[in-house]
Structures are given as C-alpha cells and as structure tokens.
C-alpha cells in the first residue's frame, strides 16, 4: 500500500491493446487444443503420425485411415473441443452473472438437473439417444425453475445463488435415490455417465452441441460480452450507460443453461471445466471482466488435453475424462487458494 510500490503501467488508453492480448491468449489456446486433438487422433491401436493425421483430416488418407480418423477418433476429439468450449463459456457467463468466482453450473444446480434427467432415462431403461435427450431436458427444466424462483422484479445475483444451491441439494438427493433404484448394470452405466466420459462418441453425439455453439457462441461473444463487462460495475451504472440489464441477463442465462445441458448430453457432467477455465483465462489475459473469448478457448484446450491424458496416462487402461478434469481442476483450485492465502488475500 505504500506509494513506492511498483505501479503496473500496462496500457495507456482503454481499448485495443487489451483486446489484442485476449485474442492472442484465445488463439494460443485454440492452437494448443488443435495440437492435443491431432495427438489424440494419432494414438490408439492403429497409431498414426501427426502429419498422417493432418493429411487424412484434409481428405488425403487411405480408406483405412479415413475410417479410423473420421468414424472412430475425430468425433471424440471434436466432442471434447466443443464440450470444453461450451462448458467454459457457460462457466464464465455464470461467474459474471452471479458476481461470484465460484458461480459455475455445477454449483448452481444446472448440472445436477441434467444428471437427474439422464438418470431418470437410465433407470427407466432408455437408450443413449434418450439419455442425451433426458440430460438436455433436465437441464432446461431446472434452469426454468431456478429462474422462476429467483425472479423478483428482475434477476438478482444473490437470489440466483441461493436458489441454485437449494436446487443442487435437492437434486443431489434425487439423483442418489435414482441411482439406488436402478439395477446393477444400469447403475454402473449411470455412474460412468455421471463421471463424464468421451468414450465411443460418434457424430450424432456432436451435432446438437455443434449447432448450439454455432448459434449461441456469436450471440454471447459478440452481442453480450461488453454489456456483461459493464454490468459487473453495478446494475445502476450499467443502466446509466445504456445497457438493457435484465434483457441481457435473460439472454445470457438462457444461452448458458442450453450450453451446459447440451455439453452434459454429449459427454456427461464433466466436472470443474466450467469453474477452472475462466480463472485460467483471466490469469493469462490479465484483463478485468468476464474474458469470455479467452475462457472459451481455454476450455477447449483444457478438455482436449484432459482427454488426451485420460487415454494415455495408463497404458492399456482408459480413464473417464471427468476423473482427469476433476483431479486437475480440484488441484488447481487448491493451489489457487493456497497462493492467494500466501499473498494475504484470504
């Protein structure tokens, strides 16, 4: 607090330089995600060199390579990429909306809603398409209910957190009950889904999420990022600057719930990506605000990297990707808290 303390002189005027760094971080993470992806596609019982992988993806592979890449391995990598991006974007939006660095969909009940929907399908003996549908529907219904309960002449962040925590508690109980109701085989399948796994994903698992990202990501990143950053300074100030605060919240909440549900439908409720990626992105860009673009790309890199690790960490034995993100994300969080404690901030 002394005047002698070094003054970080970073940007002379607000605007471009800052955005440049955010874009650079985003591009770097995207590149990293692609490298992880190429490595993941190249691995397995039919190993391929990275150059072979790139050649095959671009359409120059042998029929065998074509089959292995396009039918077996690429859908999984694309799923990882999209699920990571969607979860991170939704997480960054939630953290900003509820003005709480822990405000991820896992904490606010949306993920548990998806789980409840999926478990209901599993227990009643539905197939994998029905399971995905159940996850989407569960997430959306939970989103609408939480929204309706938290609404009081406007959407207020603290009410959203409290209602969300309540919903999490109730749905965790419901999910536990559903698991005990299932037969052994069903329960095992449900457990694997609940951990979050990308095993055996095909194009049909990717498409709904791809469509949602194609529509929602531009809406959120281009349309809402700046007003969202302004609203972090207070509702009155944002309104004074011409932000339509409640309308923006409604759009963002809807988009984040949809993205979370569709990500869960594609890969299960993969833990900690929504929480960790926005934090990592903020540390890398050093920029204030929600950092939506950087967070999205960080999430993509995080999940493709985690899935690569899940496939390679133990030879001959694959881990569900949710185990890796859980261990990595949890470890990161503990490290972050410890570092902040040392810096005297907590």
């Amino acid at each position: 607090m002394t005047a002698v303390r070094s003054m970080p002189v970073r940007r002379i005027a607000g605007g471009m330089p800052l955005r440049f760094r955010a874009v650079a971080v985003g591009a770097g993470c995207l590149l990293l995600a692609l490298v992880f992806g190429v490595l993941a596609v190249g691995g397995g019982d039919y190993p391929m060199s990275p150059s072979d992988v790139v050649r095959t993806v671009l359409g120059g592979g042998s029929p065998a390579e074509d089959f292995v890449v396009h039918e077996l391995r690429l859908p999984r990598v694309v799923t990882a990429l999209l699920v990571g991006a969607a979860l991170a974007l939704a997480g960054a939006v939630f953290q900003s909306l509820v003005r709480n660095p822990l405000g991820s969909p896992d904490l606010l009940g949306f993920t548990q809603g998806s789980s409840a929907g999926a478990l209901l399908v599993v227990v009643t003996g539905g197939g994998s398409a029905a399971l995905a549908g159940g996850a989407v529907l569960g997430g959306i219904v939970t989103g609408v209910v939480i929204y309706a309960l938290a609404w009081r002449g406007g959407l207020h962040s603290h009410r959203l957190v409290l209602v969300g925590i309540g919903a999490t508690a109730i749905l965790t109980g419901v999910n536990g009950y559903l698991l005990t109701r299932g037969r052994l085989m069903e329960a095992a399948r449900a457990m694997l889904w609940l951990t979050g796994s990308l095993d055996g994903r095909g194009w049909e698992d990717v498409l709904p999420l791809l469509a949602a990202m194609a529509v929602l990501a531009p809406v959120v990143l281009l349309g809402c990022a700046r007003p969202l950053a302004i609203t972090e300074m207070g509702d009155d100030l944002a309104r004074g600057l011409g932000v339509r605060v409640q309308g923006m919240r409604l759009v963002l909440l809807g988009a984040a719930v949809l993205l979370t549900s569709l990500a869960a439908a594609a890969a299960g409720p993969v833990s900690f990506v929504a929480l960790t990626a926005p934090h990592l992105a903020r540390r890398m860009t050093g920029a204030p605000g929600p950092n939506l673009l950087a967070a999205t790309c960080t999430g993509a890199a995080l999940l493709t990297g985690a899935d690569l690790a899940a496939q390679r960490l133990f030879a001959g034995h694959q881990l569900p990707v949710g185990v890796v993100t859980g261990v990595l994300g949890g470890g990161y969080l503990v490290w972050l808290l410890a570092a902040q404690r040392k810096a005297g901030r907590i």
Partner: protein
Amino acid sequence: MAGTHDDGPRLSGSALTLSYDKRVVAEGLDVAIPDRSFTVIIGPNACGKSTLLRALARTLRPAAGTVLLDGRDITSLPARKVARTLGLLPQTSVAPDGITVAELVGRGRYPHQRLLRQWSADDERVVRESMEATGVADLAGRLVDELSGGQRQRVWIAMALAQETPLLLLDEPTTYLDIAHQIEVLDLCARLHEERGRTLVAVLHDLNHAARYATHLIAMRDGRVVAAGPPGEVMTAGLVEEVFRLPCRVIDDPETGTPLVVPAARRRTEPVTR
C-alpha cells in the same frame, strides 16, 4: 439534440409515484431540473432523494407518473439514446479487479460505440480530455484498486464525463471522502458546470456544501418537495427546522456569502435521559 422542445426544462418529473416492490417512497412528486443549473437535492435520510435521482436517470421505473427528457417519456426512449443525453454516477459502483484508470474511463464511451465501430480516435480523445479535466491523466496506467478514495472518485467522475452527456446526475459524490477531498470533488463539479455548461444534479448530505455550490436547491422530506429555488431563498432556519427537525441559525458564509447553517447548541438545562 438540445432545445428541440420549447416549453419547460430538458429534465422533469410529474406526478411521480416511486416505490420498491410494495413500499412507496414518494407519491405525486413534481420536480423540474432547470437547464444549465447545478441542482442539489437535500433532505434527511430515507426522504427519497436517491430514489428520485434513480427515477430521473431511468434506473428506477416510476409506479405512476412520468419523467420527461426533452419533452418525451424517458421510458419510451431507447436506452442508448438516453445514455448519450443523461449520465448517472450511482453511489455504489464496483471497479472490476485489475482494471486501469484509462480502461475504466473508457467504459464511459459504451453508449457511443457499436458492434462494428468499437474504439475510435474520437473515443481516445474524449477519454484523454475527461482524464485531464478531472486531474487523473497522470494516473492513466495505474490500477484503480491502488488509488486513494479521492482519486478513485475523480476517476468515476471522469468516466461519467467520457459519456459526454449534457446532463449529469451524481448520487452523493462526496460520501466516504475526507473534507479536503469533498471540496476537491465539489470544486470539480462546479468547474464542469461553469466551463462546459452542463446541467448537474447531485444528492448531497452536507447543507453548507449544498448552499455553497448549488445554483438551484431542492429540499425533500417524506417523499415530497418542501421547497425549491436558489439557495439564498430556500436555505432558511425555518426550512432547515421543518425538513431536518434541527433548530439552527443561518448566517452568511464569510468566504462566499452563501447561507451557512449553524446548528443550535445543546441546551445545558436538559437532563440526559438514561
């Protein structure tokens, strides 16, 4: 944009009923902000002065009545258009972690920006001028978290200035500041009012500051306007007693000749109730 209507001031409210949920703060409130004035609203705690300011700034929708901006119902105007005419500095605003002074001031340009035209040379110039006008240009690259209370308040005012609005509404801009910083901020407001011909509306607690700096005074109690006019006419011992229930004398400020409120001394004969 200015002067498109002939009768009445640019900003006024008529028959306003203001409430939070079911709790009514004010009913049938009429208020007019004279053009190019430095209007100060005074009144005891919970008299509805901040609520009135929020209604005038469109951040609170009146339960009844209308706020007129340039002759039109403010709620019917597009949000960005209002934000280019009328700026608001709320009492509690949060500076995001790790934001620099220049970035924060730059956010005042939001209503002037578009999706495809985000940061122009014009924005750059206005931000620089706003920082110079408030004396924070030297702090441009500093983090807002590291500034003193007085510096921080000047940065917020710079942000409001960067919005480039002919009308500027300030909710208790001097709260939490020591006396030197309070005067500094008020001097700045007076200068902005005089040099740039802006209309300023501020809620203030200190009656002597209000009397010294205001060109137009609005005194409120229990959700209604008790008196409005030049400080020399409005600020009388009778009015202060009526509005604040405070016995006092009003003398001439030896520095400026404006009214100076001196609260009456406690009478020694009254026993202290236990």
